[in-house]
């Protein structure tokens, strides 16, 4: 049995296990394979200075300070954009997660990056149902592991079950006539998701 997450909704405490909903588990996946002329599978390697072959796993990322000394991640601390130190946000597993009711529009405007299914014990189902009778959406701060910045997580439900939708809330700009968009940008279109549902 997995660890349980505690939620506080409208003053009541609820708890459940959560399971990440991986797209591959819903739609399967595909993978491109490259063969050489002998039908042997090829691997991607790095080529350095046009002649040195660096096999997969032979290049590493490293952080150093201004004197060139290696810095481990545990030495780093969080700062906000004003340059002030910030406290760590606890893991969702170690606290009771206070859930605030929000509008559907708040949820819709968020960019969602991961989904968790809420797995509720039989004897708790009725308790959950009464908080999701009329398209309710609840917001709480989400950190799977303790870290300096949490994500925005939304509790929602549908006919299939209950979900946590994790992402970041966005603020959209209302555009007036004078906000003509002619700026140049090198922005790449996000395209890192597989798509086999269609």
């Amino acid at each position: 049995m997995g660890r349980k997450v505690s939620f506080k909704i409208d003053g009541s405490s609820l708890e459940s296990e959560i399971v990440k909903v991986d797209r591959r588990k819903l739609y399967g996946t595909s993978e491109k394979i490259v063969y050489d002329t002998n039908k042997e599978e090829c691997v991607l390697s790095d080529l350095y200075e046009g002649s040195i072959i660096l096999p997969r796993g032979s290049v590493s990322q490293l952080q150093i300070d201004e004197n060139g000394n290696s810095v481990s991640r545990s030495e780093l601390i969080g700062f906000n954009l004003q340059g002030e130190k910030v406290e760590k946000v606890p893991s969702i597993f170690s606290i009771e997660n206070n859930c605030k009711k929000v509008e559907i529009d708040d949820f819709i405007s968020s960019s969602i990056k991961s989904i968790y299914q809420i797995v509720i014990d039989e004897d708790q189902i009725e308790s959950w149902k009464k908080y999701f009778t009329n398209d309710e959406v609840y917001l709480f701060e989400f950190n799977y592991r303790e870290d300096y910045e949490g994500d925005d997580a939304f509790l929602i439900s549908n006919e299939e079950g209950y979900f946590i939708s994790v992402g970041k809330s966005n603020k959209f700009e209302f555009l007036e006539l004078s906000n003509v968009s002619i700026e140049d940008t090198d922005e790449e279109i996000e395209d890192d998701l597989d798509f086999s549902m269609f």
Binding site: V19, Y35, V59, L62, I108
Partner: protein
Amino acid sequence: MIRYIKIEDENKRDAEITFKSVTQKNTVYLALENGKKPINKKVIKSSKDFTLENLIGKTEPSQEEYDSFSEKLIIEDKEIDFELFGKFIDKTDRIYTDKKLNPVYNVELTEKVFDTDGNLKEERVPNYLHSNISGESILKWTGKYIPKNKLYNKVVLSSKYQIKHINGLTFDFLCNISKTLQDKNSFMILGGGKGNEPLIFNDGGKPYRGFLEGKVKDNSYCLVLHLSNQEYKTIL
């Protein structure tokens, strides 16, 4: 480079407008105690001639061969390339290599398709998708409205692009679309190709369903294209 798309309204009139990805930047950054950010570097750990397989002298050593090599490795440190180990590097190129890590010049590409349990279903010629939102393509007004409270818990609205006008005429055009959608309190499905196809943003890219949401306030509008490639479904 600014990217333009052509979009249709409910009267099947189209206009060329631009769009921008909307993402919220992190509000916290990691730094050292003194507030200075560390510098990210790429460093070489090994190279072609110093892989375990090359040092053992076989492309696929057995477990016994790995075990007997361990002692030698500890004593001689033979896996370290003293010329390159620890060297900071910037940019590298990516190439395909064979099992012996030699460059491969002619390749054949296939695509393996796996089912939801991870079992191989088929191996096929990769399906290369061409962008259907750029050039002469027009994003079609499908007229399929979906109320917001019917859609929000059905599909995962992962990415957002804000649609923007480029002149006075397109300002009016996008304002009208936004008002139509606000009045209906609905999304509208935007179609690619003939109108019923998912949207493909780049050549070789992946398809997404596009849902257009509009709002107006005083003399301003907010028109957002939401993209989705997943539904809210349980796995247990």
